[in-house]
């Protein structure tokens, strides 16, 4: 449907995929500044021109926010940066952040039609740079036509889910007041993610924009401690809960109590706290200079840890992962960045215990993991070879096995139900319809069954983010467990829609 006659229809072949430049590793290893260099709009436009504008936009479909990617690529191509930024904000309140922290190679860029031998469009880089440019040029959301409708909503947690919710509510004329126990917005964006991935200045700038829109942040307020949840419930038309999940998983590893064993999040937050002088008392700064560091785990958090350690001038930094490289769950690009920066990867090792000398970490005991033969699709299956015990020496072990929810106590006051693992339950669970259907004996009532499930979904599941307690909505990591930033934003926005609709239907009743 391209009608612009000047288009080069084979641009996707003629112009190779080009990711934006990085600072040289020798240079970037010394500081916590972002590693990607801003790209000129013309360069981005050229990359954007590679887009085929597919009839089925797989990128948009794969994106949890369903960003209008092909459309803003086209605007980028025509160097209409403000229009592109405006369009990005229609589906995403934090494009400059998603552009930095999203694992595009698992989402939009992976789904890109061109990711089949041509090289995907550099969607992430374009998203980041275009929004940066627009913001630098003073882009602001145009809200002149929004009429405040007298409703207000309390949001607990100023992380991506909370922001996602607050922004959409504000655009819809609903007052959003966001509470957070930390001194800055962003949640893990601010406190968890190291500065070389996301410059904290970006978050501050974003806070300004959000506040200009009329979002009110009440920081350093911890619900349940500084303020009673019941008060919020009473004072606001609805409450959205998005307190995240901060509880680190320890994997039950023997020897984990020894000095020199750190948990990923504690380490990362301590680091940010030190650099930004947030004065968070709970998080201690750990200087790993000249230490031999092993990080256990293979996700994005593990990468944040190894790369932070490198920057602290650790003597050696090793990432140790149970499966092989292809099975790593995080962004490929981060693994590449880490390698460039001097991180060593040890694959297929299962830690058994942490060894100590004088109450301090000395080594980690591991066994080899052997691939199982019938590995099919997805993550490969591996089996520990118990005859292969070995020791790997280290001064510091950082455990990056992920986090689990840390549901606040007051949830039960309002009878907000939780999953067994502590996650908040929202929406209606559609049951195991799929399993039922796949059983051939059940094919007979196949259609009927699905029809009724669909019907049920339509009627009862119309507010996917509503908790079991009416008036309370929840989303983000506290519902999902540790998950992507972009999913948290998506939850927040869905919650906003749910709230808007529920307030509407209240009105009409």
């Amino acid at each position: 449907m391209k009608n612009n006659k000047t288009d080069n229809l084979l641009s996707f072949i003629d112009t190779p995929r080009k990711v934006t430049n990085k600072r040289a590793s020798a240079q970037r290893n010394k500081d916590f500044d972002e590693i990607y260099i801003s790209a000129a709009p013309e360069e981005l436009a050229q990359q954007a021109s590679r887009c085929l504008d597919c009839g089925n936009p797989y990128c948009e479909w794969k994106c949890p926010l369903h960003n209008y990617i092909p459309d803003w690529l086209k605007l980028t191509q025509n160097l209409k940066l403000n229009d592109a930024a405006e369009l990005m904000h229609q589906t995403n309140p934090l494009p400059e952040i998603c552009g930095r922290v999203c694992p595009q190679d698992r989402l939009c860029e992976q789904a890109c039609t061109l990711n089949t031998g041509f090289g995907a469009i550099t969607i992430g880089a374009i998203e980041k740079n275009i929004s940066d440019h627009a913001i630098a040029q003073g882009w602001k959301p145009g809200l002149s036509k929004v009429q405040y409708n007298g409703k207000s909503v309390a949001i607990v947690g100023a992380g991506p889910a909370g922001i996602g919710c607050a922004e959409l509510l504000t655009r819809s004329g609903i007052k959003a007041v966001v509470y957070d126990k930390y001194p800055e917005i962003g949640g893990l964006l601010t406190f968890g993610i190291p500065g070389f991935k996301l410059d904290k200045e970006i978050v501050r700038k974003r806070r300004e924009i959000l506040e200009t829109m009329g979002i009110e942040f009440r920081l350093n307020v911890e619900i349940g401690k500084d303020l009673d949840i019941a008060q919020l419930h009473q004072q606001y038309d609805a409450v959205f809960l998005a307190t995240g999940s901060y509880q680190s998983m320890d994997g039950g590893l023997p020897g984990r109590d020894v000095e020199g064993v750190l948990y990923a999040l504690d380490y990362l937050i301590g680091n940010v706290n030190e650099q930004q002088q947030f004065q968070l008392d709970d998080y201690k700064y750990h200087d790993l200079k000249n230490k031999r560091v092993i990080v256990l785990g293979g996700g994005d958090t593990a990468m944040d840890c190894v790369r932070s350690a490198v920057r602290q001038q650790a003597k050696s930094v090793v990432c140790m992962y149970r499966r092989d490289k292809d099975s790593m769950p995080g962004s490929r690009q981060e693994v590449i960045n880490a390698s460039e920066e001097g991180v060593k990867f040890i694959f297929q090792k299962q830690p058994l215990s942490i060894e100590q000398v004088d109450g301090k970490v000395s080594a980690i005991k591991v066994v080899d993991m052997k691939p199982e033969t019938d590995s099919g699709q997805g993550i490969g299956k591996f089996k520990a070879d118990m005859n292969s015990e070995q020791l790997v020496e280290a001064d510091v072990i950082i455990i990056a096995f992920g986090f689990q929810p840390s549901p606040p106590n007051w949830l039960k006051d309002f009878n907000i139900q939780l999953q067994a693992d502590g996650r908040v339950i929202t929406g209606v669970v559609a049951g195991n319809a799929q399993d039922f259907l796949e059983h051939p004996d059940n094919r007979q009532s196949h259609q009927q069954q699905v029809a009724s499930v669909n019907q049920a979904n339509l009627e009862q599941n119309s507010y996917p983010q509503q908790t079991s307690s009416s008036g309370f909505f929840a989303g983000g990591d506290m519902v999902r467990g540790a998950d992507l930033v972009v999913n948290a934003i998506a939850d927040g926005r869905q919650a906003a829609r749910d709230i808007i609709n529920s307030l509407k239907s209240c009105k009409s009743e």
Binding site: M1, L9, I13, G55, N56, H66, T113, T116, K145, Q447
Partner: protein, 1499 residues
Amino acid sequence: MGLYHSSQAKDSCGFGLIAQLDGKPAQRLIKTAITALIRMTHRGSVAIDGKTGDGCGISIQLSKPYFRELAKHLGFSLGHRFAIGQIFLNPDPIKAARCRQILEDELTKETISVSGWRKVPIDKDVCGKDALKTLPNIEQVFVTAPPGWQRYDLERRLFMARRRAAERVTDDDYYYVASLSSLMIVYKGLVIPKNLSTFYPELAHPKMKSAICLFHQRFSTNTLPLWKYAQPFRFLAHNGEINTISANRSWSVARKSKFFTPLLPDLPSLQQLVNQSGSDSSSLDNMLEVLLAGGMDIFRALRLLIPPAWANRSAMDPDLRAFYEFNSMHMEPWDGPAGIVMTNGEKIACNIDRNGLRPARYVITKDRVLTVASEIGVWDYKEENVIEKGRIGPGEMLAADVSSGKIWRSGKIDDMLKIRHPYLAWLRENTIRLRSNVDLEKKGAQYYIEENIEKLPIFSHLFGVSVEEKEQVIKVIANDAQEGTFSMGDDTPFAVLSQKSRSLYDYFRQQFAQVTNPPIDSLREKSVMSLETCFGREHNIFQETNGLSYRVIISAPVLNYAKLQQLKSLDQTYYQFQSLSINYSIDANLNTALTAVCDRAVELVKNGCVILQLTDRDINESTMPIHASLATGAVHQRLIKEGLRCDVNLIVETATVRDPHHFAVLIGVGATAIYPYLALQIINQLSLEGQLVDELITARKNYLKGINKGLLKILSKMGISTIGSYRGACLFEIVGLDHAVSELCFPAMPCRIGGATFKDLHNDVLVSVANAWGSDLPIERSGILKFVYGGEYHCYNPDVVTQLQLAVTTGLYSDYQKFADTVNQRPISTLRDLMRLKLADNSSKSEKIELDEIESKESLYKRFDSAGMSIGALSPEAHEALAVAMNRLGGRSNSGEGGEDPSRFNTEKNSRIKQVASGRFGVNAKYLVNADVLQIKIAQGAKPGEGGQLPGNKVTLEIAKLRNSVPGVTLISPPPHHDIYSIEDIAQLIFDLKQVNPSALISVKLVSGPGVGTIAAGVAKAHADLITVSGYDGGTAASPLTSVKYAGTPWEIGLSEVHQALIENGLRDRVCLQVDGGLKTGLDVIKGAILGADSFGFGTGPMVALGCKYLRICHLNNCATGIATQNKNLRENHYHGLPEKVMNYFSFVAEETQQWLQQLGIKSLNELIGRTDLLQLSQGTSDKQNHLQLQVILDAAKRPSNGACHYMGLRNPCFDKGVLNQQILKAFKNRLNVVEVFELEATIHNYDRSVGAALAGFLASEDVLDTTDNSVILKLNFLGIAGQSFGAWNYPGMQLRLEGDANDYVGKGMSGGRISIFSPENISYVPSRSTIIGNTCLYGASGGELYVAGQAGERFAVRNSGATAVVEGIGDHGCEYMTGGIVLILGPVGENFGAGMTGGIALVLDLDEHFSNQCNMEHIQVCSMVEVMSNRVLAASLNISRTTIVQLLEAQILHTSSRWSKKVLQNLDNYIDYFMLVIPKETLSRQTQALPVRLVNEK
């Protein structure tokens, strides 16, 4: 009641007239006429019993001596002036008596005395079974005029009496007055021509004499025609179809109050002027008789009803143009393929439609007998007695008066008409032509921007303009002046099924021409099209006065600001302007609101309003709009009912119109003109945003231009050429509106399955109202064109595509099951989704069928075809992979329309189905014989009624080779098959194909639309073996956007309609019925079978299996999956399709089908066909869905209690055995091994059709003889008159010589050899000035030579891609779409020469120095031969020189002994200056040097 109604039958036929110009009545003439009818038996249809036909008849002068004597004999007292009525009466004597009485009453009222009734002697034995069932009691009534009446007094009063009687007899289907006149009598019946005179023995009575005989042989699309529909009618016989019939009928009602003539003062007392149902020809006859009875003469009447194209013919004589323009103001043309012969007993006339879509050839012999007929050679006159022969060309008329012996040729008639009144002066004086005014337009635009731009979001929400529509529709048109191109078809739900709020226009499906009439190419044949629109009160057509010219004219019905302002400020005494809001209170109800608008409109018109503007612009928070289509339709209908419609013009000022379809709907339901204010305001905004290429006013102009272009396309799709005949014609089918809605607003529109009620529509708008005023939501991204998350559902959404691709890659049924579940459980998107299977009760295990009892996969594969996709659209790799997969499975792949590499024949890469499409690319004998099925692609689901274009950049060396063209040359597929303009033409093409490849099944691909059942029955009667019904959701590689979105209907409706029609006509067992369109899973197969399908076509499914990702960029040649591209890099490096993936897919589908069969408790698909009891209509998920009435579909598809209900594997052989072809073939086979030169002599007649084709097919299929190297020569010499398709698909080595004439389609598809046609020696006419071959010769030829020592008809060398031809004159549209070959024309050339000609060369001897005016300069340049030769570089690069002409002339002389050619050659030095060279622009642009050639008349 089902979907199919036999009343929709369409017909076409052979027709003609014979007249003794000196008026001497003779019995011999009647006999000759009957012979002529017999000679055209093949143009009608003959049932298997050899007796039943669709009707034929003759109309002759009333033989007064015969009837006087008869009256005497019967004891009737006949007065001086008497008339005879030929009356069909009910076989029931009581009912018959009643009708007799009524007619007598009415005659008596007129003081005409009835002398008596006589039973007409007939011989029933010659009637077939079906004909006997409906045989009426045929009687003649003898009546006498009171003394003193003149001849025409009697005729007029007979007319009124007859009409009044007919209005009184409403309940007797038999009663019919074939004729009632003192001048003419009609004998007609449901018999075949050879039995006509046996059936009516008195026709052979020696005293039965006439100097005029009109004759007609009918081909109806249904097997149970009625006696009264046989032709001729009372005045005329018509071959063709009036496409505009619904508009003509409804305007005849609207205009009745305007008809006044002192000759028939009581005319207004008639209820209606023309019949509102039944045969289109009979309605035309009705109108003609009103005009004639009212005192109009034959010439003006015929020219008024069927005018030639004049609006875009700047070269036309201004006085003549004025005559047509003047007359066009008060009657819209009756348009469509039409050959008309008519007589009033004294004058005779033959008239051909503006585009020459029906053939008419005439011969005048020395005994002053004039014969006009569809074919030449319909009786055996002696060639030496011929003094003149010719054809009646497009828009031409031939007339004669047997009382004076005078003949009028077309020009003479025009000359006579144009000087009757000072038309030109009248028009100049009184007619105002509105033109656009840039300053005014600028002012208007500026004003809107300033006053209203901030309201745009409100209007966008309220009227549903999405971002997508703004970007992809409005912006594109504003930039490019034409709508965007789209590919991959429409995979969204119909509006009524959608969960989204959709435009009401989405409920309207454009009707389109298929088989019974041709679509027009509105681009290449622009000269016949017109959008001209008139304002002002209509006046009485019978009085030609200057008052009638008080009119305001605009060139197109889409208004801009300037034109609207001008219309508003006209003199209010004549053009009173009123505006009427169509917005209503949110609390009111839609139905009442509509009635109120209608009431108000009537009031305004009664008070003198002449320009009534309906507007939805004054919207506010408490009101909501009535959709413009509803308001326009309802007001139009009401005004007609009140007799006021022709006093007023309806302007619609609405926000709802954005794309061409929207405009077409409003005009189709009655709007005069439209002002699209919101679309223009959006363009203003786009301009402010800097999104437009041009400045604002140009962009606005572009937009209107694009809309007009789109309108022309929509008109031409239905074969209609003027907007006047489209206005109010309701040429849409409504899918998904409640009957109450359509009853009130568009009663003439088919609306078969109910749907959204007034209440539902009201509720839909309420949602938009809430969005518009309540919030600041961003403008919706509707996702109607392309998938957007949260937008409209798409059946091939990313989930579906990725799941299918995973399944065919892993080969796991469990993966396929996930795909099938996603599809089978999708939100309701198609009609079949509302039909649930009733599965067998599993509890009764005893009856459970084991899997091995169920129809095997192998057997199912035979029912699976891949849909036609051309190589060109697909890469060769993908095309071959599909063929390999289907061949390995035992299914069939379809070549598509682009030819096929012969090296694939006889290998597993061969496509078993070969398509014959309108472009005829690569369709030669060799191609045709290497097929098991030959599919005539009438229409494509994604764009029925349209042609296509393969842009030059996609024409690679390979493609060019396959399509017999040159790389880089644009290839155009015309909208129609130029050899199928009507149903008897497709019978001819099927006959041609069966002659060339007797073993192939002939398939015809139709698109679901109203009346498709009728067409399918006709196609089956034309001896097709296989019929494919495509749904609207078929794919395409490139189509205009609105074509994909708005044409065609769901196959569920079309399939069951066709199934029902075939059963009712007793044809079901011999026709294999295939469904195609959006089929994805086994469940689709099951439901398709239940609704009537034997076989299944899959297009997109197997493509996705090959790797297609539904990118919708097929038209750009950059398909990233290497499937829909010719780009080498993409094909070599990025194409990963394997036949195995396609095989996996079909294996899965077959397996799923088996599983469903098992659960249904049915063993085979044959047992399932028509088992609608196994489907249950299910509850929908919206009110609209629940208001659909789908039972009608199930009822139509239902298994009949007896008779065949599915395909039984029978063949459907042609009635004509092709005797001469068989003789030739036999003779050749007998001598096969003996000689290298085979020679044969034979006489030939017009009924010997497709002569040579059988031999060509034999040569192409057998390896016995290699004729391609010219070493073997087969000489076939004929004497006489060849039937249609002489030398079709002529094969190298075959040399056909014909001494005599030939009919249409000479050398169709010729790939080699030679055809020469010339007149005998001893003749008295000048051959070079006579038409000796018919229309559409060399259609799709790719090689060989044709020499004709005489002139050819219309469309000579259309789509020629390689043949060399010499001819001495041609008709209109010569060398249309030509891409190769050389054509030398040594005489006059008709209009529109070289339209769409992108290759080859034409040389024209232009003695009148008029040629360049006749050319369509879009693709060609014309230069003088001398100048080209003086430019050596150019001449060399074109390989053209004086020698070229000399050689061609020498060949012409050698093969035809043409005297004219000899003369030209001998005097070449004198003639050379007059030779013009026609070169396609593309050819010139490929030349490297810039060439300083002066080009003639470059427009």
